[in-house]
Every structure is written in structure tokens, then in C-alpha cells.
């Protein structure tokens, strides 16, 4: 395989990284909100959270992207393809992240929350400053896994016209008829990106290694 083709893959991988990074970050903010809605004692809030998760976790990302990109225009909302791609990915990953976090929240010792109560924290502050960081720490490996999964699922955003790594590989495989080489190269690029993510993740885990709770 020529360097020229490989470079085309690398160029496309830049989009993969960009779209993933943006949507995973946005997704995390959404997931924290959704997770607290689900755990809320307010029943309708909790129901909304659960429906959100049910929909975005229950249907394929492909279908969600198609809905955002192709169905919204029919109700007069024309979504550009980059916005559709990021929104679709962010909604999807947030539903998974919310479920992961929920497990983490169950592991936050009650005493930590009571200490915040006593110090006069509002529920929002307790959530933001105490429960969320501890829950994130407890579920860090799962969250990093989810980020890596999402990075790979980003291949589906080609359906709204973004030519990212997988799509470029498919295009090149179709014109060069050397799919094994092209896909191996694409796989290696994904691996390289994900190794960086994993290293970043374990750094983060170390930084959060204030020992056992």
C-alpha cells in the first residue's frame, strides 16, 4: 500500500478523533444530568431519564443518525451533517455513560455524602463536588472502555456524509481492491489512537489514585 493511500487514511482519522472527542465530552455532561435524573426521587424526572436511556441505548446509532439527519428536515429543522454527527454520537454515548455512572454512584459511601450535608452543601454541589468525582473514580475503567467503543462507533457517522477513517478505508478498498491491506492499516490507526486514549485513561486513573475509599 502506498504512503499516499495511508496518508489519506490518516487525514480521515483526524475527523474520527475530532468528532469523538467533542461528542464524548458533551456526552459526559449529558450523562451526568441523565444519571441524576434517573436516580432522582422525582418520579417524572426519573421516568424521563429512563426513557432517554431506553431510546438511545436501545436503537442502533445508525438509526439515530438517520433520524437526526433525514427526519428532522421533514419537520423543518435542517441539521448540517457535522452537527448531526456530533449530536447523534453524544446522545448515544451519554446513555451508556449514564448507566455506568449509576453503578458508580451506588458505590459512593453514604458517609461522604453525609459529611457534605453537614457542611451545608446543596444537593447540586454535593453531586458536582463529592458524588460525581467519587463515582467517576470508581468507574474509570468502564468509562474509558466506553470512550474507546464510541471512538470506534464513530465510523457510523459516515451515514450523514462525514468521511471518517472507516469510510475512507471502505472507499479505498472499493477502488484499489486491496481490502485486507487497507483494513489492516485502518485497524492499526484505530489501535494507535486507542492506545493513546488508554494511556491517557490510566494517567487519569493514577491521578485519581487516592487509594481505596
Amino acid at each position: 500500500m502506498s504512503w499516499k493511500l495511508f496518508w489519506l487514511l490518516v487525514e480521515a482519522a483526524r475527523l474520527t478523533v475530532l468528532y469523538s472527542a467533542i461528542s464524548i465530552s458533551i456526552g459526559f455532561v449529558i450523562s451526568a444530568a441523565i444519571c441524576s435524573a434517573v436516580m432522582s426521587s422525582n418520579r417524572s424526572l426519573s421516568l424521563i431519564g429512563r426513557l432517554y436511556i431506553s431510546f438511545f441505548r436501545g436503537t442502533p446509532l445508525l438509526v439515530q443518525l438517520l433520524l437526526i439527519y433525514y427526519l428532522l428536515p421533514s419537520i423543518g429543522l435542517d441539521v448540517p451533517s457535522d452537527v448531526a454527527a456530533i449530536a447523534g454520537m453524544a446522545f448515544c454515548t451519554s446513555s451508556y455513560q449514564a448507566e455506568i455512572l449509576r453503578g458508580g454512584f451506588a458505590g459512593v459511601p453514604k458517609g461522604m455524602v453525609e459529611a457534605a450535608d453537614i457542611c451545608g452543601f446543596s444537593r447540586y454541589d454535593t453531586f458536582r463536588r463529592i458524588r460525581l468525582p467519587i463515582a467517576v473514580k470508581l468507574t474509570m475503567p468502564a468509562l474509558i472502555s466506553e470512550a474507546i467503543m464510541m471512538l470506534k462507533s464513530s465510523s457510523l457517522v459516515s451515514v450523514v456524509g462525514v468521511i471518517e477513517l472507516t469510510r475512507m478505508a471502505q472507499n479505498l478498498a472499493a477502488s484499489t481492491y486491496k481490502p485486507l491491506q487497507i483494513y489492516t492499516a485502518a485497524g492499526a490507526i484505530y489501535l494507535a489512537i486507542n492506545i493513546v486514549v488508554a494511556i491517557f485513561g490510566s494517567r487519569l486513573e493514577k491521578r485519581m489514585s487516592w487509594g481505596r475509599l
Partner: protein
Amino acid sequence: EDILAKVKADGVLKVGTETAFAPFDFINDSGEHVGLNVDVFAEIGKELGVKIEWVTLPWDGVLPGLESGKFDMVAGPATITNARMERYRFSSPVAEATVALLKKAGDDSIMKPEDVAGKAVGSGKATAQLAQLEEFSKTLPTPVDAQEFVSFNEAYAALASGRVVAVANSYPNIAYVAQQQSDTFALVEPPFGVKTYFGFPGRKDAEYASLMDAVDEALLKMKSDGRMAEMQKKWFGVAFDTPEKITEAAF
């Protein structure tokens, strides 16, 4: 609102296609979108006096995109069949789509289409080409073992790795593959089965009629003045005779 009027007013014709369908649409070594469609639409643009704006999507997204108005028509050509004509309006045919076989280079056991009797032959799932292969199989002493793939690109991979001995696909596509990868693949002449054609799908709705008429008019002009034949030669190595209009397909 009349779409042709809108296109002319904007000065832009938006065309959707997928770029994994050589030699009609594909990405070349320099990362450029090239192929017969690109050349044909460049000419259509000249005829209509508008610029062409390409929207490239995977095939799964192309027809939904057409239906939701993301673009005005589709370039990625499709075999014109009666079932499909119920849903879309097709342009005047731009190439023959009759089915031929691709084999591994140096495979002497297959010299003519009939030689695949009793062997594993791949094709695209739910495609017109697969249907033709199955029809052809019935005429053979022992039927072929027809293997279905999610797209032709996987079928070629299966051929290269020896999982099938041949792939049935439209003549222009196969001829191009054989020419590009002469070390690996070879064309089995002649094509077989009934004659079918490739056309560009567009919408049947009334407001699109004027646009599709104008495109047909441009295509006919290109066919009559030889531009079409020239482009076919460039991309397929041969020129095809294509009818002016298909109203009733072979199946």
C-alpha cells in the same frame, strides 16, 4: 415549487452518491472523487448551466437522503428494475448492466460462464445481479452455489481468498476490476442473462418532473453527439448502445 426552477435559480444541482462504486464513483489515489458519474454530471451541469455539488454518503444513506430532500437527484447508478421504477424515476440509461463473471487470474477451469456449474459464485445480496445469477443457474446441468455478500467489495475479497470461484456483477464494474487488478482477477466473457441497464434515480413527485426531463434531455444530447460514448470508453474501455428510455425493464 418546481425543482428545476429552484436549481437554476440557485445555480447549483445537488447530487447524492456513494463513492465506493468504481468505476462510476470512487476515490482515487490522490483522494479525489472521480469516475464516469463525475464526468457525466459535469456535462449535465454545462447543459443546464449550473454547478454540480456532490453529497457523498454510504449507499444506506443515499436514497433516504434523496427522499428527505438533502439533494435533488442521485448519481450512484442502479440497475433499472420494474420494482424500483415503482418508487423512483430513472434517468435515461447510462450504461449496460448485464451480468458477467469475474474469476481469479490464471483459473483455467472457468473459460465461459457455463463452467461455474456446481461451484460457489458470489454476488451482492438482494441485487439485480444475484437474481440474474440465479436465473442463469437454472439453465445449467448442476446449479451454482450462489453466495450472497453484503456488497460486491466483500464478494471480491472472498474471491481473492478462495471462498468463491467467481463473482457475478454488472459488466462495466467487473471489466474495470479485471483491468485494475489483472494480477488477481480476470473477466469471463461473454456476459450472460437478459440485458439490463444502469440509470440515475430521481424522485417521481410532480415538482421533480421538469428536472428529470431536463436531465434526460441532456443525456440524450450527449449520447447523440458522442460525448457519452467517449466517456464510457474512458472508464469502461468499451462503449455501450443504450436505449433512450426504459419504460418496461427486463424484470
